[in-house]
Amino acid sequence: MQAETHSKEREKAFHELIARHKDFIYNVCRSYRFSASWEVEDAYQEVLCTLWRDMDKFERRSSERTWIFRVARNTLLQLKRKESNLPQPEAGTPAPYYDEQTPDMENYDFLMQLVDNLAKLDSQIVHAYIEGFSYKEIAQMTHLTVPAVAMRLVRAKEQLRSAYNKAK
């Protein structure tokens, strides 16, 4: 009986968590899913499964958004590793995304592709910055100091600028 109550409470808490952050979770999934091999919805489902499984491990030392970002990122990186073994679609194949591919989204996808080529930590910092995290939150997430985050972001942006200019 006690286990059943615990289960129902946990389910309710999970529903509320997803309701609060569903847009944010989608944004994170979208930012990693520019390849046409995986649909964003599949990635979203995987992230939901991981969040449900790890919900009890959230110790509230960081904000919910920070925790979700960290969990989602790890899940999506694992998916990307599996994706690299799948046959890639032909160049020019439009991505089967849920939302429409506007020119804004194409530019966004292109930038995300460049971000993915950065070193792992820099990629994480840029992703978090684009998702609207503050320097303080990013520092907490990455176990760096705020000045270190700022410096890395500046350097990463210069690398992206250089890569973008080469690609033009």
Binding site: F14, K22, D104, E131, N165
Partner: protein, 147 residues
């Protein structure tokens, strides 16, 4: 791609911030239900007696220990068996090799040596000794006395 990088950067920041989840609510509910259907982890305060037990054989450390033990025992048994039917006797400055069809114990070796060295058992023979050199360290250097 003709945009300046800074323009692209700022545009992408705006795009990222305004994106809303386009997945319809009913579809999202289905996805949440699917996630919840996964096996639940046990609460942290679950007593050990209530946790599902795992067979010893499924534990990696047990399998590794069993494999190591077998790797040691099987060759040891084979090695022991390999030399069990031979013996080498040092006698009169020579090495005499004997092979027996049965386990090589000193008594049987003595029989063999006697039959070899003293083919005429009805005649008295001087007491002679020989050193049993093999097969195993436990039988090495045993002095055998015979008539």
């Amino acid at each position: 791609m003709e945009k300046d990088f800074d323009e692209l950067w700022n545009e992408c920041l705006r795009t990222a911030q305004k994106k809303q989840c386009p997945i319809p609510d009913d579809r999202l509910e289905q996805m949440i239900a699917r996630a919840i259907q996964q096996p639940q982890p046990l609460p942290a305060d679950t007593p050990a007696s209530n946790k599902p037990t795992v067979s010893l054989w499924r534990k990696p450390w047990f399998r590794a220990a069993a494999a190591i033990l077998l790797l040691i025992l099987i060759p040891a048994t084979l090695i022991h068996r390999q030399h069990i039917d031979t013996a080498t006797i040092a006698y009169g400055g020579q090495s005499l090799h004997f092979r027996s069809n049965t386990d090589c114990n000193p008594a049987k070796v003595v029989d063999l040596v006697v039959k070899y060295i003293d083919p005429q058992p009805d005649q008295p023979t001087q007491v002679q000794t020989a050193t049993l050199l093999g097969p195993s360290s436990s039988k090495r250097n045993n002095l055998i006395s015979f008539r």
